[in-house]
Amino acid sequence: MDYQKLGFKAGLEIHQQLDTKEKLFCHCSTELSDKFPITVERKLRAVAGELGKVDEAARYEFKRQRTFFYKANPETSCLVELDEQPPESMNKEALHIALQFCKLVSANIVDEIHVMRKTVVDGSNTSGFQRTAMVGLNGKIKTSKGVVRIPTIQIEEDAAAPIDRTEDTVTYRLDRLGIPLIEVATGPDIKDPEHLKETALTIGRLLRVLNVKRGIGTIRQDVNISISGGARVEIKGAQDLKLLPKIAEREVIRQRNLLEAREELIKRNASVCDEIFDVTDLFKETKCRFLKNARAILAVKLERFSGILGREIQNNRRVGTELSDYAKTQGVGGIIHSDEDMKKYNIEEMDAVRKALNANREDAIVLCASTRLKATRALRQVIKRAKMLLEGVPEEVRKALPDGNTQYLRPMPGASRLYPETDIPPLVIDEKTKDEVEVPERPERIMARLKKIGLSDELAEQLFSSKRLKVFERIYAKHNADPVLIATTLENTLVALRRDGVPVENISDEALEELFDLYYEGYISKEGIPDVLTTIALNPGKRLRDMQLRKMSEEEVRERIREIVSKNKHLLKQHNPFKKIMGEVMKELRGKADGKLIAKIVKEFI
């Protein structure tokens, strides 16, 4: 595809959690919880923003009238998360990290930070808004396809994470709410789907030199995409960078197909009737099981739409799917439309429905079965979306699906979602403060340094992306030796142990430093490192030095080996006795003495 010709425009919004000790507006820990003993039940309402408008997205959520349950753990949430106490002042550590990022991308730090409330009534914020503030403007990064502008850098609080949904309720966990994030937005300078991935990677690497959280869910990217004649669509929840180009490609295809469908509809002079018909009675004797049990079956007529709803617009997704997505927001299971195979549903009443709606073969029919209220609301959405088909591509927020397709999520929020957070006074960042923020070492320099001390490209990359980079640097600086051993221990060995079920999350950076101190003092052998790590992991809180590690003298080693050899004399007669004896000896002495020394002594006995 010629993306330039298509008028492809894309921008990214990257949200990165910061690894601060406390949350952005309270003193709760930013670690996550695994138990949630407290449950609170709430409702949210739509309210007007500073400019007086009720935001479209907020109104939409309010109409759904859902109940929200919040699960809390006292370690990771307090009255602030529960919306029972005003926020404290902004976390200094988080602000510092955000300012560092501004410097990394040469953005202008704002003179005075105003915390805003961004209306969010999907329940993911107990307050009904997310606190967010602009900290940097007009930055830029270099990519292989030219400069990508970074017009805005914000600092904000993360939202609560959903853990369960039913038709009318959503359950959230509150541990994530309030964790500091920086949001980095690019200009619409991204040229094609591959460039999208490259830009995301570049920004991700810049973020990783800062004190940020690492691992699944700590960085999220939203993509804005449009083509000429199409519309800006925001795609949320693309967790995997590798999927970004595919998402972009598929969105371009969807917009193109929607534009083609529009052209066809215009040609046909198609139109949408506002009337919703009750056809429940027609299905009294139906063979279709789920229609037979339905409380109400309602229908709408889309004039001269026949054949359009069945058109495929993305792999396995049809125009009808778009209508269905809108309907589903009202809590119905879905819709049935006349471009589908009615035999599949055992429906024989379509002719009767057509007759009742005064529809002919050129028209399309959409049916919805649910309670009367829900079906009415759902079909209103269908009418709304069908009318948009006549306009082209609607601006909307969509959700990324695992296969690279996208699904309608909610209307595009406007600027009217923002109004001032009056509980927090504006914060001046004076010139001196701006100057004093140190620019962190850039990713390419860190990589060069790691390679220079002898790490392979792969290992350097692994370490760069890892949260253990800092402890690596400390250990290496202290002993100035064995970079590969240190790096593989921190990366590969720990990963291998985790796979074996060892709770390596119990191993603190301090314990790792101590481990290498003891290694260089000769208390631990190279081979013994995995065992010692396991011991540390299984005894959290205990200091390694207090665990009675003792270096065996050469004589003691020789004595133990003598005993083992005499017990295993038969092995001496076998093929390759050294290997066999060594195996027996290592079973007992692994980690307690240096491997080389053991081998030397074993040889003495063969």
Binding site: V40, E41, R42, K43, L44, R45, A46, V47, A48, G49, E50, L51, G52, K53, V54, A58, R59, F62, L79, L82, D83, E84, Q85, P86, N108, V110, D111, E112, I113, H114, M116, R117, K118, T119, V120, V121, T126, S127, G128, F129, T132, A133, M134, L137, N138, T152, Q154, G414, A415, S416, R417, L418, Y419, P420, T422, P425, P426, V428
Partner: protein, 448 residues
């Protein structure tokens, strides 16, 4: 707005007004007013096209922008309620008729650019527009604003005005009254109304909000909805109806003389003290009585608002200076409530700190001294310890059983408005007019 003179001059010169699209350096957006108290007058507040505000240090230059603002940003500064709701009071369809009195507070507040904080500025009409559900429960006879202050700025004149308005509305046909009020001193007002509304035959419900109404999580909507249900219930008492739990589950109807704000920030801040709630009120209209109460009846209400404001509320505590009593007496105070320690004590034995001579002198000079529990929970008893007996029988202070200090303070002003006779004052202070005393306390009333 309150930008520095330097900025104001420049704006004037350039003909720039608040709300104009401006360019300051490479920043472009709408010029917003500066928050007066917390804002910095030398920083221009600019609303960017994405809706964010930032402060830009004024370095002498600001221009009107020639570029057009994106369409979706409307130049509107007045609060505008969603059109469909903004119609005037909807027609009633055989719904019970009640009145709503707005007396300020968070429940009727919004963002205020003058202070950069939330400040009362909604009217009763706005409140109603914010909670359209109310129109399915009640019909509003009248929506009346009597005050637009936060509750710490309220005074006894406001209580009197609200009491008179409640009586007027009920006598004029309202089947109940809702008073929207700031929460900080709501329990003082509820106590005042409890004493002032004589012969009350309809519900008078005070309600408020702990979260401002401009946010999605505002508690005001459910509080108002439950209050509407309460106002048409058969509970003919003055009470506070607000969240019972941190959940948006149901409200308590708490007797006006037994309610107290117990938390600075939580939704369920109002608790019954030495009492059960009168009822639980669900947003769907279910009313679950938890004790006996005065039932709705016919008959006129009298606003008995005679009030003596020259009364005081003081607290006895370790090392406290008892000459505070002398001070109030000298100022012409007619009665003082002392929040006593424990069962109703004041520092007694240590000559340097003893309150006894001061209390004695005050009483001898005709000033009523009442003792209320600073523990809030439980009943006073002057007979258990010698110090209590000295205070009660030598200094002649009156122990006011389980009455809340704030209620006692409000009641004292009302009693003194009716009599100057020491004996009569004492009798009235110990008479149960509006449920201010509970004869029998139960263990589960504690921390209810």
């Amino acid at each position: 707005m309150s930008y520095s003179k330097r900025i104001e001059d420049e704006l004037k010169k350039k003909g720039i007004k608040i709300g104009d699209r401006v360019k300051v350096g490479d920043v472009e957006g709408l010029l917003m007013p500066s928050p007066e108290i917390t804002g910095n007058p030398d920083f221009l507040v600019i609303k960017l096209d994405n809706g964010y505000n930032i402060g830009v240090k004024f370095k002498g230059k600001i221009e009107k922008s020639s570029t057009k603002e994106p369409q979706r940003i409307k130049k509107e500064f007045e609060y505008e309620v969603e059109e469909t709701h903004a119609q005037s009071i909807p027609k009633c369809h055989d719904l019970p008729m009640i009145s709503l009195i707005s007396a300020g507070g968070t429940i009727s507040s919004k963002v205020d650019y003058k202070t950069g904080a939330v400040y009362p500025s909604f009217t009763s009409r706005d409140l109603f527009a914010q909670v359209p559900e109310l129109s399915k429960i009640v019909c509003f006879k009248e929506l009346k604003t009597v005050s637009e202050v936060l509750s710490e700025d309220m005074c006894y004149e406001d209580w009197i005005e609200i009491a008179k308005e409640c009586a007027y509305q009920i006598n004029d046909g309202a089947g109940g009254v809702i008073v929207a009020h700031g929460t900080d001193t709501m329990h003082y007002t509820s106590a005042a109304l409890s004493f002032m509304l004589s012969g009350l035959s309809k519900p008078v419900v005070l309600t408020g909000a702990q979260r401002s109404t401009d946010r999605g999580s505002a508690d005001s909507a459910m509080n108002l909805i439950c209050s509407a249900h309460a106002s048409i219930s058969d509970i003919a008492e003055v009470g506070i109806v607000m969240h019972a739990e941190t959940d948006d589950s149901y409200c308590f109807f708490i007797r006006g003389t037994k309610a107290r704000k117990m938390h600075t920030t939580m939704r369920n801040t109002f608790r019954p003290i030495n009492d059960y709630p009168i009822a639980k009120i669900w947003p769907d209209g279910k009313v679950e009585p938890l004790q006996t109460y005065k039932k709705r009846a016919d008959g006129k209400v009298k606003a008995d608002t005679k009030y003596e404001p020259n009364v005081a509320l003081v607290k006895a505590y370790p090392n406290s200076d008892p000459t505070i009593i002398d001070y109030f007496v000298k100022k012409g105070c007619k009665g003082i409530i002392i929040e006593g320690t424990g069962l109703g004590h004041v520092p007694t034995q240590n000559k340097k700190y003893s309150w006894i001579p001061h209390v004695k002198e005050a009483v001898n000079s005709g000033v009523f001294i009442g003792i209320a529990p600073q523990t809030l929970y439980g009943k006073l008893n002057p007979d258990v310890y010698a110090n209590g007996r000295i205070l009660a029988y030598e200094a002649n202070a009156v122990h006011l059983k389980d009455m809340l200090p704030e209620t006692a303070y409000v009641k004292l002003g009302w009693v003194l408005g009716h009599t100057k006779s020491m004996k009569k004052i004492k009798d009235m202070m110990l008479t149960n007019y509006a449920g201010e005393f509970k004869e029998r306390l139960q263990p589960d009333m504690f921390l209810y």
